[in-house]
């Protein structure tokens, strides 16, 4: 059980700056994110795309912004729990008991949801029949590649994940690579490798095909794939892998008893608190009259939510507003000497 002053859900720019604001006023926090890296949408969706509306930063990429926000947290001890998704939240005597899918437990008076538009989940195959094979014969990520040894694996997708795994698994497995069009978006060098392996008969390539239906009796036996012109082919296969990128889902947050408005959480504009005391929402995931989905708005919302956390984390102390330029206690927290 980890006790902390505040738990932040989401390690995107808003979550990171909220962590900074908490630490500036002397509160400890921990951060949970479903992705395997820090940065949220900035890293997952547009690491290379320039952003032009961060105050005092004329131009920066999502990756640069993330790096700077991480640097800004350097003076503080902030623990990140990556690859973890918060599953359950319940209140016991004014403390929120929070549990992740990895079994990490937190006890905290404050939970700040900075979840963007939700957590990133793999996109799945369209046919409903795929569900019954999921995590048995149909996978959207690979945990143990040894299970594919000497088996037939059908890989769907046109990006780097699909191409990389096709090349890698072709060493010990029979590989079918299936993509909905002729062009691939993965790296050219990997694509060249795929074409080479195809010539050697190690990879079978099917373009303009998509998965029509998986077949089998309890155990996957084959798949029907359909060409753009409707022609159907049946392929014997032991495993199917789908690499279609990620989609954002609100996920378990939807079941926490919060007032929702479409995919967003309603908050007040003083504390950015939800209808549950001690649960706040900041950044793209919150909604209130006039809400702008800009990174700069997330920074403002996080700063105010952090002040609201103080009251619940330090019920016997009075919060005093201070500037970083002049407060000796803030400078001390930052590891700087005051004049």
């Amino acid at each position: 059980m980890i006790k902390t002053d505040a738990l932040i859900i989401g390690a995107g720019p808003t979550g990171l700056f909220t962590a900074h604001q908490l630490n500036i006023i002397g509160l400890k926090c921990e951060v949970v994110d479903n992705l395997d890296k820090i940065g949220g949408q900035c890293i997952e969706l547009y690491p290379d795309k320039p952003i032009y509306d961060i105050p005092a930063v004329p131009e920066c990429t999502g990756e640069e912004l993330t790096k700077n926000l991480i640097n800004q947290l350097k003076p503080f001890e902030v623990k990140f729990h990556l690859n973890e998704r918060v599953e359950e939240v319940k209140n016991e005597k004014g403390q929120w008991q929070v549990k992740t899918n990895n079994g990490t437990f937190f006890s905290t008076p404050n939970v700040i949801i900075a979840g963007g538009v939700g957590s990133f989940e793999p996109r799945k195959f369209t046919p409903k029949e795929c569900e019954q094979y999921e995590e048995k014969s149909i996978f959207y990520s690979i945990k143990d590649k040894n299970i594919f040894k000497d088996k037939t694996v059908s890989i769907f997708g046109g990006g780097d994940s699909a191409l990389d795994w096709a090349v890698e698994l072709s060493a010990n497995s029979k590989v079918n690579l299936i993509h909905r069009r002729d062009e691939f978006r993965g790296a050219q060098s990997t694509l060249d490798k795929v074409y080479e392996l195809r010539k050697e008969g190690k990879i079978n390539l099917f373009t303009k095909y998509q998965l029509k239906v998986p077949k089998g009796n309890g155990k996957l036996d084959s798949i029907d794939i359909q060409h753009e012109n409707k022609e159907i082919k049946n392929l014997k296969t032991d495993y199917v892998l789908g690499f279609f990128g990620l989609i954002m889902q609100l996920g378990p947050i939807a079941n926490w008893g919060l007032n929702l408005n479409k995919k967003t959480i309603e908050v007040d504009t003083e504390k950015f608190e939800t209808n549950q005391k001690g649960i706040y929402a900041v950044g793209d995931i919150c909604s209130y009259p006039g809400k702008l989905k800009l990174i700069l708005s997330g920074f403002h919302e996080g700063a105010l939510a952090a002040r609201a956390c103080f009251k619940l984390a330090r019920p016997n102390e009075k919060y005093r507003f201070e500037f970083t330029t002049s407060s000796s206690s803030i400078l001390k927290r930052l590891g700087k000497k005051s004049d």
């Binding site: 547009y46 978006r185 279609f244 954002m248």
Partner: protein, 105 residues
């Protein structure tokens, strides 16, 4: 103003006027038409504003943007009439455009 018709996957049809210079995605979002999520807000980074353009209109709208097909690879159940609605510009020429919305984004 050009009129655009959005047909939900359950068959429910919405015809709305969309200002020139906007995108087909913005037309849906501003008119609260369900079925287009547009998570990334139109920066062609997410594939959640996916539509199927009616065949007779497919060649009349502006061509695909560079990288649009890469994102469509990640859309739910794409076909050869798939487009990202954030990349379709609204002009007088596409007055009357009809798009079908997928089962989900």
């Amino acid at each position: 103003m050009p009129k655009i018709t959005y047909i939900e996957n359950n068959g429910k049809s919405h015809t709305v006027e969309v200002g020139k210079g906007l995108t087909v995605m913005e037309g849906a979002v501003q008119n609260n038409i369900p079925g287009i999520d547009a998570d990334c807000g139109g920066s062609m980074a997410c594939a959640t504003c996916h539509v199927y353009v009616k065949e007779e209109w497919y060649n009349k709208i502006n061509e695909k943007s560079e990288g649009e097909d890469d994102m469509l690879d990640q859309a739910h159940d794409p076909n050869k009439f798939s487009r990202l609605s954030c990349q379709i510009s609204v002009t007088d020429e596409i007055d009357g455009l009809v798009v079908d919305l997928p089962e989900k984004q």
